[in-house]
Subunit: 217 residues, 2 copies
């Protein structure tokens, strides 16, 4: 894919009750690919609010205006629940996927890939709280930060979209460009706690998040 870094056409799905970082992490990486255009797309252009209502992101284009992309990114958030039976959204994912080089998701965005019928017999991942739900779409849940199967590229919860997008940048434009982007966004993470996955978090923290999953996931 390294011969196509220029003119790369990337679409990120936007919807009501989106998790903002799911979309903005990949945007911050992929928009820095030389020659790439990132377009935020929704059923209709306009402002869409995050699950808590505190932030509005703007979709500039409607599905109908975006018939062909090199890459699509499907973010997650509470809003995915309402979209699991939303034919315009699932149709757009299905149709776009026919033409993409890479179809990507972050967090519960992969449930939409599943609802669109793309995950049957595939390995897949999502936010750790929802991993089992992937089976409903015929997928094999994998508890890893980034899962790849064919041209599908899926990230675990929320912040994993940054790691996924950097890996994707390397595939699309080569490692040197991806390293430059990583240094440009100074992605040298130093999390204050060792608790970012269920493998490292204290059991009481896992239980706390599980109990308040309507608030944290």
């Amino acid at each position: 894919m390294r011969d196509h870094p220029h003119g790369m056409d990337i679409a990120i799905l936007i919807f009501d009750k989106i998790t903002a970082l799911d979309a903005v992490g990949p945007y911050e990486v992929l928009s820095r690919l030389p020659g790439a255009t990132v377009t935020f797309v929704a059923a209709e252009p306009g402002q869409y609010r995050t699950e808590n209502g505190m932030l509005a992101l703007t979709a500039d284009r409607a599905f109908a205006e975006m018939p062909r992309q090199d890459v699509i990114v499907v973010p997650g958030g509470f809003g995915t629940r309402a979209l699991l039976r939303d034919e315009p959204t699932l149709n757009w994912i299905r149709e776009a996927n026919h033409r993409t080089m890479v179809t990507a998701s972050v967090c519960t965005g992969s449930l939409l890939l599943g609802a669109a019928g793309l995950l049957h017999g595939r390995k897949a991942t999502t936010h750790w709280l929802l991993l089992d739900k992937l089976r409903e779409f015929g997928a094999e849940p994998v508890s890893e930060r980034i899962v790849e199967d064919g041209k599908l590229l899926m990230a675990a919860g929320v912040s994993a979209g940054i790691d996924m997008a950097l890996a994707l940048a390397a595939r699309l434009a080569g490692q040197q460009v991806a390293e430059a982007i990583q240094l440009g966004i100074e992605y040298d993470p130093q999390p204050p706690f060792k608790c970012g996955s269920t493998k490292t978090a204290r059991p009481e923290i896992v239980e706390l998040v599980r109990a308040r999953s309507d608030q944290f996931a």
Copy 2:
């Protein structure tokens, strides 16, 4: 500060040519503090676009509507250049800072703290490409991911705002809540390359980013 996690009033500054992740990283963490309200504020309410024009974030409130916050977060981006002499913005930062418990910045947002006169004689940090510029405001540049001086809390470039916000969440609401938020956003970073700071990046990558600093910083 742990007795004030509820009703916490947090404002994040928005402006033209902002770096989206500078604002959305801290938002994604701080909006999950129990009882906290995060408000996006600008000179005037409305949509403001990132430096590349590809994403619009909405400011819901004007400076005049936001006289008192517990925490303000000043993100960075190219747009900070134009704001270094913008009195409405600098005045808001100055006035808000009189009443905050914590005044925070991400990336080149600290240059606005400097222009507002808050950094004289202080330790400070910013994106690695702009560290030296902090001296113009009487600050002592420190090449660390998070720098604290009094109630000022400053993050290095772009993605460092996530680490900073988690540290801030622990201060505001205790470590257990901060750990739950970190697990909730599955912040278990696994960057594909070891190049997120000038200490770890290959010299040719540092030079590449420096040469294209108008594109990467």
